[in-house]
């Protein structure tokens, strides 16, 4: 279809021009800024409004908080990425009589059945948070596969308070979210939802039914 490409581009080149275009003014984005403590509160408000649950943890204590939560909820198991530092810290805190800790370490082709039907919850880290609207920024990849935060019915995400940025725009600028080599980048604000039936909100449609943020207050 090389001719389609050439023809389309040719038409566009022939048809262009003829208008003055306003310059984008990003001042309206730059002025959305808050102090670190307020960022944390805003993120939480925004995410709780869409049914996200929060667990608080002191620095270094979070693996115990995750473990306690899994026990309390009676999860049979927890899926995690064994190759990242957080995954290793989690594994180090685990004991054999706890819910089973399943490493996501095989290609999805051989792991699909377990992933879809045998996992109670998935654990991932978050690269950053967005204060303005509430939301986590993830960058799945070799260490934490893409489906880890999508297929299990519960998604547990680890977020450091110091990583909460003002806006999505500022997170792109300061943390480079979406600009690096990651082949998938995600913003997640809550459990999956729909309003397709009579505008009535229903949670847990195709993605996770619950999103639990383990917020580490390291400010």
């Amino acid at each position: 279809m090389a001719d389609a490409r050439a023809e389309i581009l040719e038409r566009l080149r022939a048809g262009g021009g003829g208008e003055a275009v306003p310059l984008p003014d990003t001042a309206v984005l730059a002025r959305r800024t808050w102090a670190p403590a307020e960022r944390m509160a805003r993120l939480r408000r925004g995410m709780e409004a869409v049914h996200t649950e929060f667990l608080e943890a002191a620095p270094g204590q979070w693996p115990g908080v995750v473990l306690g939560f899994c026990r309390d909820e009676g999860f049979a198991n927890l899926l995690y990425g064994p190759r990242c530092a957080a995954g290793q810290a989690l594994a180090a805190a685990w004991t054999p009589r706890d819910p089973e800790l399943i490493p996501y370490q095989d290609p999805v082709e051989s792991f699909k059945a377990t992933l879809f039907d045998g996992v109670a919850a998935g654990f991932t880290t978050a690269l950053a948070g967005v204060a303005e609207t509430g939301g986590l920024l993830l960058e799945p990849g070799p260490e934490e596969p893409r489906l880890l935060s999508l297929v299990p019915p519960v998604h547990i995400a680890l977020l450091l308070a110091s990583a909460i940025e003002d806006t999505l725009w500022s997170a792109m600028r300061t943390r480079g979210w979406g600009k690096g080599t990651a082949r998938n980048s995600l913003l997640i604000s809550g459990p999956s939802k729909t309003a397709d039936i009579e505008q009535t909100l229903a949670y847990g449609v195709h993605g996770p039914k619950r999103l639990v943020v383990v917020l580490v207050n390291n400010l």
Partner: protein, 475 residues
Amino acid sequence: MHAETGFRESAAQALGDPQIRANFRRAMDGLMAKRAAQFPDPEDFQAMRHLGTAIRARSLLKLPALLEQLEASCLRNGIQVHWARTCEEGNELILGLLQARGATRLVKGKSMVSEEMGLNHFLEAHGVEALESDLGEYIIQLDQETPSHIIMPAIHKNKTQIARQFSQKIKDAKYTEDVDELTALARKVLRRKFFEADAGLSGVNFAVADTGTLCLVENEGNGRMSTHVPPLHIAVMGLEKVVETLEDVAPLYALLTRSATGQAVSTYLNLIRGPRGPGELDGPREVHLVILDNGRSRIYADPQLRATLRCIRCGACMNHCPVYTRVGGHAFQAVYPGPIGTILTPQMEGVGVRHELLHGSSLCGACAEVCPVEIPIPEIIVRLRREATHRDAASAVEGRGTGRTATEDLAWRLWAAVLSRPRVYRLAAWCATRFRRLIPGGLPLLKAWTLSRAKPVPARRSLQERVREEGLPHG
């Protein structure tokens, strides 16, 4: 998709259906209130939309260069890029990709462009199951309907209708009107389908030229399922969807979710920058991007009409349109209903066949007032009305002049003849005021007027006569 009956007939039919009217009115009222709550500060809203407009206008100004840059960036990221001039070409392309890999089970995220292409029917006819996985799209696919709204495809249905449909069409489903239970039913069916799918197809909300990123905005997670579970992901986009940098996406995304559903943020913003990479355990083995023209390059060639292509498909114009709210989406008999469809459809299908649609607007301007990228929809409607009845040489619009009728032509010539001659007008005004109650209600225009309104009766004396009696200076 071509209109089989006129817009006036289909609109009248919808107006006569209290269920449709109630469903839309309730839904639109809710959406308008939610959107308003997201833009509490008018100045902030104006600043945001000026930014959105500037970004989209600049993207369009550089469109051919940005598309080439997008292609190069995608290729670098391992995303294969294809170009389609027409819907037929796009359909063949997609079928070819599926057949070459023996894929017969396709799950779809949400894509209005695929609706434009009539892709589902085309694939079904060639032995590929194309299953919609967005809940609203799934609901209407069960009934073999088309979307009545670009964001909320099943907005015309109420839960009783959906409950009946699920109990009849989903295996082992019990009748329930509980929205959570209905959602759980769909989840169960579709999880199997995601699991088994050979391929996934999605639309694209924004395609970033400099990074080669495809951005998908959604709430349900079906978009992520369709694009990350199956081994093959095909994304389709209209060629206008490209933006220059990733940072451009941030304000457009904020405008999109707020304008569309009154959400400050969607559940997911999914940036796809390539198939499964080295060391990755999941994600598709292949990602393909199909860039569709289908008349867009023709729209692009006209500086005034080009604004149509700024659209980010938020649906706010529909939600605020008094006509759409009353007749619903299906009455428009087009893929894109409501105000944006009123200007897009005639430009894609030819302005003559859609003449009536162009007149189905009171030009109230509610759409332009809320449009996050400031598309002057009423001005474009007026422009296209002219195109439909005139053959201006400078224009590239299809079918121009084909909506011209001798009757209308004569009417406007008479109108101008009377109103550009003050003496003739004065005589007409004299007759109208003297025979005020004798004007026959059966006159064509009056007959239409009095379908639901009392006949207007001119005053006993015109203002001009009164002024002459008063002896005001003429200047």
